[in-house]
Subunit: 343 residues, 2 copies
């Protein structure tokens, strides 16, 4: 940090909220009243309201030794937008609550909010409230996002049917490999003065970890092509975990082909450097914020024409279980080895 | 804790969520889809949606040495409902996010949720989502509450006009004195084996601190009498702080009479025992969750007939500032000395 810094206690809670929120414009006509009252007022008329929330805790979900606060703010917002898109909705408003220990200055928190503001601008979302508090240790970020969807148009996890095609956007495992890289460079840097990590050629996996995007574009493309997925979820905990969610909620099984899972070459390169199993990284890595969805077999041709969507398998009867089909035609049961905050 | 205990890591995040939320019924027709997808689906038709959120952190907002987890859960929900009532709305749904350190077992968290469930039952609110995580230290509770209000019927902080009457429900300062009592008994108990605090005759102030209620009944009575407040806020940070919010947002001043401020005799008794100024406790104590509101002078007779509502002063032009009129007719400027988490 450079320049003049302000201790949070000098501003007080209301002063801090005012300072943090004054630059957020209200852009949605659905936002009738924003920050500054007991509650925000939203109005949706004929639309349904979607609500999702995420709690991010320092030392569990992020490590400020290698995550810039502005990126953390951006990502904190994005992960919520991603949940709304995963319902086939449009994010409209967020509330942001933060708990801040005394080692943070107002300027630190402003960096965090600058990232949130950027995400709000890019995705057309209004900040409409929140809560601000001291914390005993570390930074706490709790964001709730409201979105809307035309009545009956939401896509749940529960609608997948046998023979449906399983699709995923983008590529998988990159955010996880980005995290491995950041952790390695951080541990190498420990104790070394003026250590400069070399990230050249690794920009993509770093960006996937530090500044992910929510796949609004995928939702738009699906609508343009007249495709409504039968089920959908965003990949936050890892492909295995999300596939099992869809199977459980839909009462179905699945087959996913190892050689169809989309993986970027930087991800593959890093997995080799780390001597890690690439498919394991892609299946269990998490934080990709891609969309995993199923479509009816009749949408096969339409899906093929959308760039950046990969068909990776199909839905089966429940009794067949969930399995990964390996390159040699063998089957490995899919188990949830996604990220678990309690381990 | 007695009986068999389960470590949270043995259940995992999804297991914990399932265990914690399975007993919450969906009771509102506005709740189309609850826990278990990327987002909840709410539908309000012609109503406006209200959203409020509160973040509660161990060591800042609560002390588990003297706050039972079930009461904490109840209160965590109530403080959010209170914000929705303070907008003249009806709470309908909540999301609950928690961060839990390893010293908590599943049974602990179930106690917390039992309190939340009780509050939801009594106030007719549905649990529709949330997030669950490990935390490095202590307990983190973040609740977001959605409510509805007929379009145009919300009551903001900004509508007070000169000559409006200032009203408050119930009595003030009791929750603050309850906290003083709990803190004293806890420090006396420290190091004394088998210490039994004597709380007899102090039940009211303890209940006000540990298990407050939201004033749904006041909103109902006002509607029955055909009164729509011109402004309203709930008393969470203290009367002084809330009065200043209304004055600032409405662009007005106020006069509040010291001898009109409603105070329970147990509160007065404890203030004497602690050698504290009673009016200071009532003005700045906070956590009363009463409703502070203003009504037009023409509603004077109607308000008088409502039991449990006290008229404590009136709104003035902004230039006159906000002041407390003392028993001897003097004026003391009102300053925000409400609770500040950052001090």
């Amino acid at each position: 940090m450079t320049g003049q810094e302000t201790e949070i206690k000098d501003l007080g809670e209301f002063g801090l909220i005012e300072r943090l929120t004054k630059e957020f414009p209200i852009t949605n006509k659905e936002t009738k009243l924003g920050v500054g009252d007991d509650a925000a007022v939203l109005t949706f008329g004929e639309k349904d309201v979607l609500v999702t929330t995420d709690l991010l805790l320092e030392g569990i979900h992020f490590d400020l030794r290698y995550v810039p606060l502005q990126h953390l703010g951006y990502k904190s917002a994005i992960v919520n937008f991603s949940d709304i898109y995963a319902m086939n909705g449009t994010p409209r408003q967020i509330t942001v609550s933060i708990g801040v220990s005394s080692r943070f200055t107002v300027e630190h928190i402003e960096q965090l909010y600058a990232g949130i503001r950027k995400a709000c601008e890019i995705y057309g979302v209004d900040l409409v409230g929140g809560d601000t508090s001291a914390s005993v240790t570390g930074l706490v970020i709790s964001i709730t996002c409201m979105g809307d969807v035309a009545s009956g148009e939401e896509v749940r996890r529960s609608g997948a049917k046998p023979t449906d095609i399983i699709c995923v956007s983008g590529d998988l495992g990159a955010a996880f490999m980005g995290l491995q890289l950041l952790e390695r460079e951080n541990s190498v840097a420990a104790g070394q003065k003026d250590f400069q990590p070399d990230f050249s050629g690794k920009e993509y996996i770093l960006e996937r970890q530090l500044k992910p995007e929510a796949r609004r574009d995928v939702i738009t493309k699906l609508k343009e092509k007249g495709i409504k997925p039968t089920s959908m979820i965003d990949v936050s905990d890892g492909l295995s975990s999300e596939l099992l969610h869809i199977c459980k909620e839909s009462g179905v099984g699945c087959r996913v082909y190892e050689d169809k899972i989309p993986i970027d070459y930087q991800t593959a390169f890093m997995a080799e450097e780390f001597n890690m199993n690439l498919v394991t990284a892609a299946m269990n890595g998490g934080e990709d914020y891609e969309l995993l969805f199923t479509v009816s077999l009749t949408d096969h041709e339409k899906i093929e024409k959308i760039e950046g969507i990969k068909m990776i398998g199909y839905i089966t009867e429940q009794g067949l279980g969930a399995a990964l089909v390996t390159r040699d035609g063998g089957e490995i049961p899919i188990k949830a080895q996604g990220w678990n905050a309690f381990n």
